[in-house]
């Protein structure tokens, strides 16, 4: 809660927190908030490409669907994808980081060299190759993103574990006979938690952005999903007439990613007093 | 007495911070005549660094000078701007490890000072600098010009910085505890070097320190600061042998020849934002009277302009305070 108080003192981070909480709210109540919740799947060819109006605040798309509703429904997709990807990446990366940080030996060495390999290629390129090989679709894209993001968690946790392994309190715990697993999960992991949390928050923004690019390139979400990246891609054929078609889904990406980035920055500053001081 | 080279009169410096306005310096008066070495002594937080930064014109942005004069060669630097004194005041900083930019050649960094503030071409400057390197006993002076700071030892870097301070042939040298970051042997060498240079060139020196031993070895006169005010000043021999202010007496009784260390004096230095009324030392003073907490103590003058800001200088200190 200390972190939260420090965070709320920073207006920019508070804005980030507000955006993220708002997006979560919208995602949960999407079906009630969207004026036309069925527009995820239904098309109305008679009202194609209508400009923004009171009836359709963000206009309609090429199939006559209300873009406002689809942006709201798309929030749910974007957040679900990001949460699933980051959770999966954490489930892979955190144990690997803990293990490789705790034990020194050939296995740890191989594990950390493997993270190097994954970090040797830009995430998007790797995700593209993986996503394509696993047959295009939102599931494959999510798996690909998780497989490209886990090394960041492994690295973070590895560094933290190595740092703590030599510390006095770990020695003391080992001295009184605590098992390594107990030490790792009850004592080392909580200490690494702030760094992991910061990573995860920034990773949420990154994943939403990358998933949108994948959707745009046709490796992620498939029609008729109300995915934002997919919408921008579909809109390209209707430019310059329907400017509203790509604009609003794109703005939604911008705002949500911005929210996570601001929050992540704020968390990092709050977790690291040294940075906070130099920020003055 | 000849007119002083540096004359500080009733100088105050305030710093605005989160906790309010801190009166770091409060009515400091101090002067350095030509050819005189003046030591300023006090514990951390007494304002000696701020005094030095004021003289050099590098006070932080949130600092202000509400009143006072800072005259160098008869010109008030506060009014005419410090640019008038650049090059005429040489500065030897405290930490030789941190005071040179690691990514530029040490020689280039000094030549830049000379380019701005000394007449002549770069070639003239370089040959002057090599002579100076020789004077400060830097090994292999020609090669030193092309080296980076990290290629010198700490003592060598301090010699470099002394050479830099002398580069524009200044009238006054200002030094900020230039030996604290060095080991004891090197400290002694650097002090001997500084003493030799100052007397050879007839320079004036303003030397800030918390070390009475260094002070005794180097300075003709001394000014003792406590919590932003001068408590005592005079010839070094007078002040060290015959201290009058209870603060000075306690300091010297605790550690006659070592660093200022107040472990022997109960209490702590007051925070700069919460200075006590009256004499700032009274909460810790063993001979304080009721009046001490109300009125700023008057200054008494002894022989050789030995000044003491305490009217009770004649009182004996209680035995346990000296133990």
């Amino acid at each position: 809660m200390m972190v939260l108080r420090v965070l709320l003192r920073d207006p920019v981070a508070t804005l980030g927190l507000f955006i993220v909480l708002f997006a979560i709210f919208v995602a949960i109540f999407a079906n009630w908030l969207a004026p036309y919740p069925n527009d995820a799947f239904e098309s109305h060819l008679l009202q194609r490409l209508k400009p923004p109006s009171v009836e359709f605040p963000f206009g309609t798309d090429n199939l006559g669907r209300d873009i406002f509703s689809r942006v709201i429904l798309g929030t749910r997709n974007a957040l679900l994808v990001a949460v699933a990807v980051i959770t999966a990446a954490m489930l892979i990366g955190v144990p690997i980081g803990l293990f490789a940080g705790w034990r020194e030996g050939w296995l740890s060495e191989i594990l950390m060299r493997t993270t190097d390999v994954f970090l040797a290629v830009p995430q998007l390129i790797l995700a593209l190759a993986l996503g394509q090989l696993l047959a295009p679709g939102i599931g494959a894209a999510m798996l690909a993103l998780a497989l490209t993001y886990w090394p960041f968690f492994a690295r973070t946790v590895f560094a933290e574990t190595r740092r703590l392994r030599g510390s006095l309190f770990v020695d003391a715990l080992a001295g009184i006979g605590a098992s390594p697993l107990r030490i790792l999960f009850l004592h080392v992991l909580p200490n690494a938690a702030p760094a992991v949390l910061v990573r995860a928050t920034i990773g949420m923004g990154f994943t939403i952005l990358t998933a949108a690019i994948l959707g745009f390139l046709g490796v992620g979400a498939t029609p008729p999903s109300p995915d934002w990246g997919l919408a921008v891609s579909e809109a390209r054929q209707h430019l310059p007439e329907a400017w509203w078609f790509p604009t609003f889904p794109g703005l939604a990406i911008l705002v949500l990613v911005l929210g996570f980035n601001l929050l992540g920055d704020g968390l990092r500053d709050a977790a690291d007093p040294k940075i906070r001081r130099s920020k003055r | 007495m000849t007119s002083p080279l540096l004359s500080i009169q009733d100088l105050s410096v305030h710093i605005r911070g989160d906790a309010g306005i801190a009166r770091i310096l409060d009515g400091i008066t101090l002067s350095v005549p030509p050819g005189v070495t003046m030591g300023v002594v006090g514990e951390s937080g007494c304002g000696k660094s701020t005094l030095l930064r004021a003289v050099l014109g590098i006070l932080p942005r949130n600092a202000s000078i509400p009143h006072g004069k800072l005259e160098f060669k008869g010109k008030d630097l506060i009014k005419v701007n410090w640019a008038a004194a650049r090059g005429r005041i040489g500065f030897v900083p405290q930490d030789p490890y941190l005071s040179l930019n690691p990514v530029f050649r040490a020689g280039d960094q000094i030549l830049e000072i000379m380019r701005k503030h000394a007449p002549g071409t770069r070639k003239d400057h370089a040959s002057t600098l090599i002579d100076l390197f020789r004077a400060v006993q830097l090994p292999d002076p020609e090669a030193a010009l092309a080296k980076y700071p990290h290629q010198f030892s700490g003592g060598q870097r301090q010699r470099l910085l002394i050479a830099a301070a002398l580069a524009c042939a200044p009238d006054l040298l200002v030094a900020d505890e230039p030996t604290t970051a060095l080991d004891v042997t090197t400290q002694r060498e650097i002090l001997a070097l500084l003493r030799g240079l100052v007397s050879d060139k007839g320079l004036s020196l303003l030397f800030v320190t918390h070390d009475f031993g260094v002070l005794a070895a180097l300075c003709d006169r001394v000014t003792v600061l406590y919590a932003g005010r001068v408590v005592e000043s005079g010839l070094t021999s007078d002040v060290l042998r015959n201290p009058q202010h209870p603060y000075t007496r306690l300091l010297l009784a605790c550690h006659p020849d070592r660093a200022v260390n107040l472990l022997g004096i109960p209490g702590t230095v007051p925070a700069a934002t919460q200075q006590p009324e009256g004499c700032r030392f009274h909460p810790r003073c063993p001979i304080a009277r009721a009046a001490c907490s109300k009125e700023v103590p008057p200054v008494t003058e002894f022989a050789n302009s030995h000044l003491v800001a305490c009217p009770w200088y004649a009182d004996e200190l209680p035995e346990q305070a000296l133990a």
Binding site: L133, G229, G250 | -
Partner: protein
């Protein structure tokens, strides 16, 4: 210094070798029989067997891995499933276009990023500072493909100020290929019209691509300069009367740039990722459009080859970054050796 460069190169090798193995593993997890995929829809079992033998797919896995490594090291990435031409040739054909675009984008990012960051730091907590902070956070949140489309919509479609797509106007045609870089080749051919035309085509994609980098560099320059301004040597330089401009623009900036240079290595990843979408949108005939095409046509050979090439370029860039850092900061090379 030479020893440092060699050491640094050697350090990059294990990851690259691992990457080659990774692409091998990936090529084996593809659903289905790669030989059947290669042979096409109308293949007879005999043809598939022949292809299997030809590509060594009938050998033990370990041996296949060795073959894969040898092929990659000799620059043999196999034939494109889509066009039937050697993938290496196709990539070489397109690489200059991507390099030209990313290089110009990087140039914009560094120049504008460093200037903005420096001004922000010197104007700490002022209006410029706040603006730069907004740009640096916002720039990282912008989806490049969306920005590309918005810029196209505004500057090419509505205002008609800049060309919509391609490297040069189709009517003008490309200059004779010498380096593969349009700007250089038009200079070599002495075609000023082509040069200007090429530049006008570069503006929108390069700006789009530069934005995340610009944001990152501005941000690191700002915090770097702020950090350096706190250092004792800056106070010392002020005390001994360095010029204001020199202090800010040279003395402090050089230290801050060291922090920024490290970021450029990481940025290159963002640039390449951005290039995929940006190239696809601006019809820029580089590796980005190539990979998008490979995705559409399920050309896994091409995709894996692009992954490898990008990995190699990425490694080289990171070595260059470290070398640049050693040049700017004389302490780096000595600490390592």
């Amino acid at each position: 210094m030479a020893r440092y460069v060699i050491r640094r190169l050697l350090l990059a090798l294990p990851a690259l070798f691992g990457l080659i193995l990774l692409t091998f593993v990936l090529s084996r997890v593809i659903p289905g029989d790669p030989a059947a995929t290669l042979a096409g829809d109308a293949a007879t079992p005999a043809m598939i067997a022949e292809i299997r033998a030809q590509y060594g797919l009938d050998r033990p896995v370990i041996e296949q891995a060795f073959i894969h490594v040898r092929q990659v090291l000799t620059g043999d990435f196999g034939k494109s499933v889509f066009s039937g031409r050697p993938v290496a040739e196709e990539i070489l054909q397109r690489l200059p276009a991507t390099l030209e675009l990313t290089f110009v984008a990087l140039l914009i990012a560094v120049f504008l990023g460093v200037s903005l960051g420096l001004f922000a730091a010197l104007n700490h907590n002022g209006i410029i500072d706040h603006l730069v902070r907004v740009v640096s956070v916002g720039g990282l949140a912008l989806a490049s493909f969306w920005l590309a489309i918005m810029l196209q919509l505004l500057f090419a479609m509505e205002l008609d100020l800049l060309p919509l797509r391609g490297r040069v106007d189709v009517a003008l045609g490309l200059p004779p290929r010498v380096t593969g870089f349009v700007l250089l080749d038009s200079l070599i051919a002495g075609r000023l019209d082509l040069l200007l035309n090429g530049i006008s085509h570069l503006i929108l994609p390069a700006i789009t691509l530069s934005l995340p980098g610009l944001a990152t560099i501005a941000r690191f320059t700002r915090s770097g300069v702020l950090e350096v301004l706190q250092k004792d040597f800056v106070l010392y330089a002020k005390a001994v009367g360095y010029g204001r401009f020199r202090l800010a623009a040279i003395y402090v900036l050089r230290n801050a740039v060291i922090l920024v240079v490290t970021q450029i290595g990481l940025l290159f990843g963002a640039l390449i990722s951005g290039a995929v979408a940006v190239e696809a949108i601006f019809d820029w005939p580089g590796l980005g459009t190539y990979s998008v095409q490979a995705i559409i046509s399920a050309d896994y050979k091409a995709l894996l080859a692009v992954t490898l090439v990008v990995g190699f370029v990425y490694a080289v860039v990171n070595v260059l970054v470290d070398v640049a850092q050693a040049i700017i900061d004389p302490r780096v090379a000595e600490d390592v050796t």
